[in-house]
Amino acid sequence: MKIARMAAVALVLALVAGCSKEKADPGGAGAPGAPAYGDAIVDGSIGDVSGFLTAVTSDSASHGAANYVFNGLVRYDKDLKLEGELAESWEVTPDGKRITFHLRKGVRWHDGEPFTSDDVLFTYRRLIDPNTPTAYAEDFRQVTRASNPDPHTFVVEYGKPFAPALASWGMHILPKHLLEKHPDISRSPLNKKPVGTGPFRFVEWKTGEKTVFEANPDYFEGRPYLSRVVTRVIPDPATMFLELKSGGIDMMGLTPLQYTRQTETEEFRTSFNKYRYLSFGYTYLGFRLSHPFFSDKRVRQAFAHAINKKDIIDGVLFGFGQEATGPYKPGTWVHNPDVRRYPFDPEKARALLAEAGWTDADGDGVLEKGGRTFAFTVLTNAGNESRAKTAAILQQNLAAVGVRMEIRTLEWAAFINEFVDKRKFDAVILGWSITQDPDQYDIWSSQKTGPKELNFVGFRNAEVDRLLEEGRRTFDMEGRKKAYFRIQEILAEEQPYVFLYYPDALPVVHKRIHGVEPAPAGISYNFIKWYVPEAQQRYTTFQK
């Protein structure tokens, strides 16, 4: 299980674990035993790392591995509030245009060199450098001036107040002394053999096989208890589960089916602790709003009534998830729980469709209007099992109200390039991951409907545009909250997407590992405090 901590990263598909709301299963607490140093934890990952410098990678395996080695200036704590990491504290000027970071003193890179504000400035410069093939430059380009008046102070200024700025400094800080000779950091040796300030030091990366890290005894928050972290690459999920059961790995993310049906044995319970919390993402049905069927709000609302979200959650997630009402996660400060809801009601759906002119005149079970039958194709990407299942259930739900939906699964690149980017689709089933910062300008602004841009459904709403700007310019949380609450109301009313569900993350950790405490941020936020009591330690050859 990998924790993408950076606020800047908004990857689709990445059902990266993150946040939490619900309590762990009973039995989550381990048997008594004093914290002790030593032992290793073995994690399983579907994909291999592609590099360790987060700025130039975009997959969750790489970001997860990088988090062991590197730190940002800030991070989200267990309650998803920003706190200092390499920065001890910071100040924002009242006009919101200038942030001053006060850096931690006495921090050293893994090779012994001291960490200073030079490193921060260097990292910033590399992020906006055209030679750096990074996908995350945008937030840093808003900076008009960056400076480091002394080794422990770093100052950035912005042209306009930019609320997501603070979170963007969760970006990993890179060692200047090891990178300054490499114009392209993605090709530097550091991308393969990282040297950071983080809790673990890099040991080895056997491509396609595993990555190994060992505890950093000089970590500024104290040495982690676990001596080693090994992440094994196991591409097939069925194999990974067998490895878990046979003791080959200690930790993985379970599927809902594994969680309910395959881990309820006595044997499993004596060896593992299961956890459950809402993950950072949602799945939706998105309409091309310029499509003649879907330009009518009543049709979209009818769909929302026709879709049995509970069936989807039961069928696809085995109940491990919540009905989605908007683009933010329930339980976070930005989530508005009081938006318009669309209970499952086929009758009402039919009535709304009839109001919009869709009736079954010829009695064939499919609606018509002006000679056109209500048949369309929904697209989703191949290889995503839960989306395929969701599509199958939607098909059945919609058939019940007289709408014929065909399902077409496409390979990801073709899906995006040939259909989404060219706007050649009727509707799509996709997902977004939810970033900690609520700014969703790229997804909902009418300025972002161009080719390759993310408002591909073509949602245009003047009030939402204004509110999105306002949210970006406001640092005050109450002020931002008001803007985003209103946006959620409008989205719920307009239904440019039918928001379907927020799935749960279902991690499992071997029972000998103690100190796992689920929080809104998930389980990994206190990874350095995880330990195995002396008597239960398993990989003793790594002891040091």
Binding site: D311, G315, E411
Partner: protein, 285 residues
């Protein structure tokens, strides 16, 4: 000539029927044809009928092979999947056979540089791990049934081409071809009337084995997530869905696994049997 052909065919049948393994294969294959032609006769349920209250139920009277991860009837999906899997097998092999016939006939009949060029091309194609090629193309073009059938066909015709070429080479030296030519028959006429019919037996055997191979390739693609896409059922994707629950929902992987195994086995035994029976001299080859 006609009487001769009939008695040859009778001999062939007699030899085929004596081979018990081949007969078993033939039974399997014909049964599958019936299933694929009349799926509704074998399964009462709609293969795409979802019921979230019946997820992964073990086999029962109502669902003889249990239900899948969306509560659909596995028997119905298997039966309808048989049709898809057979379609993939037959169309892919059809494409391969057609290309192989054309390339082999042209190369064998015209010889010289035509033969040289075509056979070098065959050599080149044979060098590629064909599964690599299939994988790359399917991943790029997307896993639609049409793409899958076309790509498997386009990467598996080389054996047929070599086979047909060899037959053509030996046939064109035979007396009846010279006789036809002496009577003024044109090239096309010779190819279609004299050579093609005689080259059909080995190509039929080859095609039988090809169908089996294509069914297996589809299941491998499904395993990698780029086979026939759900909700369309194919044996490959039912098996793949089953593999993640292999330990507790055994019915979801055991039945499609066995179905693939028995089918491919059936095709192979039948193919071998036809070969043995068609060419008694080289029995077992």
């Amino acid at each position: 000539m006609a009487a001769g052909a009939t008695s040859m065919f009778r001999d062939f049948l007699r030899r085929l029927l004596k081979n018990r393994l081949a007969v078993a294969g033939a039974v399997v294959v014909s049964f599958l044809f019936v299933v694929a032609a009349y799926p509704s006769a074998f399964a009462r349920h709609d293969p795409s009928r979802i019921d979230v209250r019946k997820i992964l139920e073990p086999p029962s009277a109502d669902h003889p092979l249990g239900t899948d991860e969306l509560g659909r009837d596995v028997l119905s999906r298997m039966v309808h999947g048989a049709r898809i899997s057979m379609e993939v097998g037959f169309v892919a092999t059809g494409i391969a056979t057609a290309i192989g016939l054309v390339v082999g006939l042209i190369a064998g009949f015209y010889g010289r540089w035509v033969d040289g060029v075509l056979m070098r091309f065959v050599d080149i194609m044979l060098c590629f791990p064909s599964f690599f090629l299939i994988l790359a193309v399917i991943a790029f073009l997307g896993p639609s049934i049409i793409n899958i059938m076309a790509v498997i066909g386009l990467t598996s015709w080389m054996g047929a081409a070599r086979l047909v070429r060899a037959e053509t080479l030996s046939l064109k030296e035979r007396d009846f071809v010279s006789a036809a030519r002496a009577q003024g028959a044109g090239n096309l006429r010779i190819i279609f009337r004299h050579i093609l019919p005689n080259a059909l037996a080995p190509i039929l055997v080859w095609a039988t084995l090809g169908v089996a191979g294509a069914i297996l390739v589809e299941s491998s693609l499904s395993f990698l997530g780029i086979g026939v896409q759900p909700p369309t059922p194919s044996w490959g994707n039912i098996l793949t869905a089953g593999k993640d629950n292999i330990e507790f929902a055994w019915w979801l992987s055991v039945y499609p696994g066995l179905a693939i195994l028995v089918t491919v086995l059936g095709y192979y035994l039948l193919g071998e049997g036809i070969q043995d029976a068609a060419d008694p001299r080289l029995k077992g080859r």
